[in-house]
Symmetry: C2
Subunit: 330 residues, 2 copies
Amino acid sequence: MGDACGIGPEIIARLFRDPRSAGCVVLGDVEVMRRAAGFIGGMLAVARVDSPADALRAPPNCVPVLQVEGLPADLLAAAPGHVDARAGAAAAACIARAVELALAGEIAALVTAPLHKEALAAAGVGYPGHTEMLQALCAPGREPPPVRMMLANDELRTVLVTIHLSLRRAIDAVTFDAVLQTIRIAQRSALAWGLRAPRIAVAGLNPHAGEGGLFGDEEARIIGPAVAAAHAEGIDARGPFAPDTVFMRARDAAGHPGEFDIVIAMTHDHGLIPVKYLGVAHGVNVTLGLPFVRTSPDHGTAFDIAGTGRADPSSLFAALRMARQLTAQA
Amino acid sequence: MGDACGIGPEIIARLFRDPRSAGCVVLGDVEVMRRAAGFIGGMLAVARVDSPADALRAPPNCVPVLQVEGLPADLLAAAPGHVDARAGAAAAACIARAVELALAGEIAALVTAPLHKEALAAAGVGYPGHTEMLQALCAPGREPPPVRMMLANDELRTVLVTIHLSLRRAIDAVTFDAVLQTIRIAQRSALAWGLRAPRIAVAGLNPHAGEGGLFGDEEARIIGPAVAAAHAEGIDARGPFAPDTVFMRARDAAGHPGEFDIVIAMTHDHGLIPVKYLGVAHGVNVTLGLPFVRTSPDHGTAFDIAGTGRADPSSLFAALRMARQLTAQA
């Protein structure tokens, strides 16, 4: 359900007015979802279910909610558009329940609605966001599994070696181990989606992938050796390729078959610029490295419009569709 | 005409089998163009003209060539697909003639076919490529005008603060002066194309444009102040914006009106990834800062297929179309 004060509940409600929601269950709070159904107007029932399997029997225009236990009693008092510790605590509890169900095989994939970092912090949740929480919950008492962010749409999938660092620090973080681990995570994920022999392109860091050392040596020192090591493990990894053309080459569109299934990008923006270029609503965030498929829309809680019913659910639709694609093939 | 041994002459010949070539004149060698017409086959005459104005009277399926004086006598002995000093010398002479005609107002714009750096060097030409030669020829005996590379297609124009440097050195080259000068060049160029009040977006360098200083401070220290200085000069410059979404926001397509006319990118690949994403043939290289419009296709001499008649002229067509767009509005 995400943060109860953000647009999560109302975009989820919109989802259930569409037949594409069939088979989905909301992990959250029945009353919050009723309020959200009111925000968007129109005919929409909200029903409490006892298990994800029960949600399969939900009729059209009905939101099946698996009530998460232990949510703050006065959660409904948390007002849309505001940072509220109760909403942060509730969001964290929903995620914990989702992980239990995913690890038990009761749900096929997890689509997460937006969190608010400040609300989590106000609730004393020790993780800055979904990804870190999911990593920790998947490996209680153990080292969290390494994960990578993938951004994907119908044409392109990019997996990022580095994310939220200054560009200067990101360059330092492009190490042999980081690149090789990213390739391995991409390979394992793609096999899990059902791709037989994933074609993985690795983008360079520098213009023209260093132009033979003229414009930087990270390709020769770091990225090339990591690609070779992956290749030696039987992974069909190729590169490093010039960043300015590799995404175009991987683009899979009508009349333009993509040369690669996945592109590994060294920096946040090399990878995100091409995926977002055709519009944010088409870009879906996928966390690779977890023991289940997890996708999320590519936007935040949008407190400025929460509660108005005006939020656009298209990125959530895209996240759901991507989750189906990545599991239906498994 | 570009390098006589590359694909330049034959893609130019292809151009003149199309009515879109109307009004164009080739600055080059009549015999080389005759040979190129042979490579592509079909009916195509090659005619010597005495001035660009004469080319306006060329019939369809005729290549009007303004013979450049002083070309190597045995230029035709330079074989397609090979580095040849004669081809390098001839290409440089064609550029020099083109600049004379452009500065005299006899041609409206210059579209350059590909050069080969090694052939230029073999001929003792002291410039690594078109851009440096054009800068010098436009200001004989004076300081060459500062120029910037723009890559453009029908949807997007990006102007680059840095180009052929390692990413690490590019970060160092993002200075207040470099950013402000880029904005000024973009503004002057856009006014010359006929845009009344160019809307110039400036992309940041770091993820999320630094996220308020969390991921780097170049936005606060350098880019923001340069944008403010440009604004104080009356330029409608805005930013710095997050690199991953600013290109998408500027994209001008059916049903998606662009928010900006030009995006200033700090690095080669931030700017080129989105322009090339929809296909190299659609991306045109434009040199801003010269006293005339100059465009070029976004590929090289392709020695591996030169002389076969198989080279794809679509990027040259795009470069011609872009040159017309940028001058017709002036």
